[in-house]
Amino acid sequence: MWAHGDNIRLAAVKHPSFWGVGFAGCVILALVSCSSASAAVDTFAALSARANAARDAEHLDDAVRLYRRALALRPSWKDGWWSLGTIYYDQDSYTQAAHAFRNLLKADPKNGTGYAMLGLCEFELAQDTAALQSLRTGLSLGLIKDQSLRNVVLYHEGLLLLRKGQFTGAGDTLALLATYGEAGDQVALALGMAALRILPRDLPPEESQQRGVILRAGRAETLAAQKKFDDGARIYAELIAEAPQFYGIHCAYGTYLLREHLTDEALAEFRQEIKNNPRHVQSYLEMAAVQYHVDSAAGAQYAEQAVKLQPTLPFAHYLLGLLYADSGNYEKAVTQLESAERSHIREADLYYALSRAYSRTGRKADAARARATFLQLSSQSSGPQEPNIYGEHRPLQGPDANHPLSSVEAQPQR
């Protein structure tokens, strides 16, 4: 199934020995020199050498057996866990592969590539939350210099975000992939889903007209990621002419225009989306967000609509709270921000806004409590900051961290 990312997957993970090709080569030579010694002593050295030789000879079942025996003797053998994990992965034995990578990470907890491989296994096992966490940890710690691995990891991260309905994050990740030159239809389709806010389970069948629209929207987003904004805009304009009633197309185009700072044109698209789909919460939120700090009182009216349409959406309450606060309406801001808080959103931003609103309404104790929570959450979100494969720096997510957008993004309400 496409949504499992069949085609963009790691093609060649079976052989690399990331910790010591030279060492492995020596072992193979040593093994060849005594290949007739079939009754080798079952020492770790002998078992590991035979395991590597079997792996290199593509005798994978033998290799698995030998690796397991060698690892039983020396559980800290990182290269062994890596090889075992990658063999299992190639055999589609994801449970076993995940087990091997977890053991690898016990021995080498800073191994970003190990986390990435674990995440790919968890992806295949439909353990989405764990997979996302593992992939992000891997990216934060840094991967080996392998472009295909980077792209695979990013792609799967994008798919996981799509599955969770985190369309903005998915779009960002997939756009990054597009900037790296991955401009194929798979990436474009995923980008189209992100732009049009379509969950993988709702993807129309292949060859359908709807799927074609999604793909073309994704191509437009791909072009934008590659700084070919005008070409992308042309595609969107064609799509809107051909399928003006396609759900979310105006909102997607509006968001596209916003990124290019064409605010008035973007607002026109959001309005058209609402005209087509009066319950299109995302368009209301986009319009409200545009007004923040500019005309927050006007923006609050759109956010109020979003809250009315989707009262369970914490982000709508949060945004409305910000807009009220920015309009000097602190009492109403507190009400909205507390609504968001009741959704158990553990997000530093929310508590900062709460602390400010409490402070301005004279609730000093509540303000102090919100400030303390803000500081606590802020410190949690500022983990190790090391360069990663992006060449940028992303905070390491805590083990239990849920991305805030996972529960606050507006979900499609067709």
Binding site: K145, Q147, T168, G169, D172, T173, L176, K227, F229, L258, E260, H261, T263, D264, A266, L267, A289, V290, Q291, Y292, H293, V294, D295, S296, A297, A298, L319, L322, D326, S327, G328, E347, A348, D349, L350, Y351, Y352, A353, R356, S359, R360, R371, F374, L375, S378, Q385, E386, P387, I389, G391, E392, H393, R394, H403, P404, L405, V408
Partner: protein
């Protein structure tokens, strides 16, 4: 200084929209219509090197290794080093350090004002060439001898130059004990403990040296760009207490300054709670800004509680340039901080209760600056109408930014916001050709180099020639230039409160310390009164330990005067 993270929850909230600003007005004080005339060259005109004689250029030593200091300097200053009443110019350069060994060696520059619009390089004679990798400069009379001394901040070790009074300076750093090893950025002179001597606060940026340089860039291609400072550990800034005998004592710990670690770029000494004790507002990069509240000589950091540490959405930003002024004349000092692109700059309005509200959105400053990165920043009354305007020097820190962004440029335009008495209005588009150009601007100093009462601007450019901008905007409006000399109070009168009245116009101004980025300013205050032709009343409230108030009446205008604390008289 940082790139926007991809996952900021509300990064898309700030997209601009030209619209009305519901709260974008302040004050109800009478406002004189702007009387200035726009010269052919605009409100500010570039004085080219061929005219000024300032041929010096900044060298950043940009290397393939992309050492972060390369893109962050340098500062500049207006000062009157020879006490002739004319503003001279000091320019800070890169130089020899652990990652750079320029040949021939680079030097800073001191230009003496020839009083005819030209300047002469007197660096060698004065002995203020520097010698390390220079960052910024702070000017102050630390030894109360009536002469402007120079504190030069550097990456590595900073330098205190004592003014000998004969056109030369001497390096007294070691004796004074203010070397501040590490990466020093902005510095400010102010009297934090009311003993009448100028103390020294020195911003320290990150814990960095050549061996700690982090690779930031594309690991596949090896292409580098300048790191977001987040990758480097924070550091404590310094506070040096002036012992009054030519030496200083590091009181960073006992004063409370060292209790928090930052990545400090800009600093301004101001008084946010009107208690007479000068506070410090410090811009941090990728960390919350600090507001050090001075509680009778001990500092308490209240940035978070005050609402100036973070963006309105609770994000630490990349603070660089800062300033403080009472822009709306409500009697309370407001704050300004410039950030990097996508973050918007902030104008924090003082709520009179140690809290602030960011008015950048309502004033349109946010929308205007959303794609810009700001360094030099100063409130001053460019058209002498009595209202404090705002001048900003911008430029993205990453020279590769245009590879990654289609909207953000490495070189960026200057910005000028005019204070209408009700709002800050972006007048850059009509302010002249210089505002249509783009620069890698960093430091910004204000000063009236031609003594015409119109405050001019000096902008330092990373890897380029400085910009000397002559103010042509104040013609037709009247003014009084005031130089304050403290006798019992600190000699530079930092913390003095100046109040003046001309007809229906009443204004008040706190003489702040420092402000902007890596730069130092004309010590004189130009008091604009618009079309009014005399000042009815001028009140000087000297800072402690002097603390007295002196009042002068019926003053002729369009001239500079010197007021010596306790003398009760004005001198030309």
């Amino acid at each position: 200084m940082r790139l926007a993270t991809r996952r900021e929850m509300l990064r898309w909230l700030a997209l601009g929209l030209p619209a009305c600003a519901a709260r974008a007005s302040f004050g109800a004080t009478p406002h004189a219509a702007w009387q200035g005339t726009v010269s052919k060259g605009g409100l500010f005109e570039i004085v080219p090197p061929s005219v000024s004689g300032i041929s010096w250029r900044h060298s950043n030593g940009r290397s393939p290794e992309y050492y972060l200091p390369e893109t962050t300097g340098a500062g500049c200053a207006f000062l009157d080093y020879d006490n002739d009443g004319w503003m001279d110019i000091y320019l800070v350069n890169g130089g020899k350090c652990d990652f750079y060994d320029p040949q021939p060696p680079l030097h800073n520059a001191l230009y003496r004002n020839n009083r005819d619009g030209t300047f002469t390089d007197v660096t060698e004679k004065a002995g203020v060439a520097g010698g390390g990798y220079g960052m910024g400069v702070a000017v102050g009379d630390y030894n109360r001898d009536g002469l402007a001394d120079l504190y030069l901040t550097q990456y590595g070790r900073s330098i205190l130059y004592r003014n000998n009074g004969d056109g030369t300076f001497v390096d007294v750093t070691e004796k004074a004990g203010v070397a501040a090893p590490g990466w020093a950025s902005s510095a400010v002179w102010f009297d934090y403990d009311h003993d009448g001597f100028l103390d020294l606060f020195v911003c320290r940026f990150v814990d960095f040296d050549r061996s700690k340089n982090v690779f930031c860039g594309n690991t596949q291609s090896g292409e580098r760009y300048y790191c977001v400072p987040r990758v480097y550990p924070p550091a404590q800034s310094w506070l040096f207490h002036n012992n009054g005998d030519g030496t200083f004592r590091d009181v960073s710990k006992e004063s409370g300054i060292a209790r928090v670690l930052g990545k400090a770029w800009g600093v301004v000494a101001t008084d946010v709670n009107n208690d007479g004790w000068m506070d410090l507002f410090v811009a941090n990069d990728t960390l919350p800004n600090f507001l050090f509240l001075n509680r009778e000589g001990k500092f308490e950091e209240i940035g978070l509680d005050a609402g100036v540490g973070y963006s309105p959405e609770g994000h630490a930003r990349s603070g660089m340039g800062v300033d403080s002024a009472d822009y709306d004349q409500d009697g309370w000092q407001d704050l300004f901080v410039a950030n990097v692109d996508q973050e918007m700059y902030s104008i924090y309005h003082n709520n009179h209760d140690l809290t602030f509200d960011d008015m950048a959105g309502p004033f349109g400053v946010g929308r205007t600056t959303r794609l810009l990165s700001g360094w030099g920043a100063k409130f001053f009354d460019y058209d002498n109408d009595g209202n404090l305007d705002l001048f900003l020097a911008n430029g993205h820190p990453d020279d590769k930014i245009e590879v990654h962004s289609s909207h953000v440029k490495y070189q960026e335009p200057l910005l000028l916001f005019r204070n209408t008495g009700k709002a800050l209005e972006d007048v850059s588009a009509t302010a002249g050709p210089v505002f249509a150009q783009s620069f890698a601007a960093r430091g910004l100093a204000i000063g009236d180099f031609n003594n015409d009462g119109a405050t001019d601007v000096l902008v330092s450019v990373n890897g380029g020639a400085p910009l000397l901008l002559k103010n042509c905007a104040a013609a037709g409006n009247h003014w009084l230039g005031v130089r304050l000399i403290g006798k019992k109070s600190n000699p530079d009168a930092i913390g003095a409160r100046i109040t003046w009245q001309a007809g229906d116009l009443k204004r008040s101004r706190l003489k702040v310390g420092g402000g902007s980025y890596l730069s130092s300013h004309d010590p004189r205050e130009v008091l604009g009164i618009g079309p009014r032709t005399k000042i009815d009343r001028l009140e000087i409230r000297w800072p402690q330990p002097g603390g007295r108030t002196e009042i002068f009446t019926d003053l002729a205008v369009d001239r500079y005067v010197t007021i010596v604390e306790g003398s009760g008289s004005l001198a030309p």
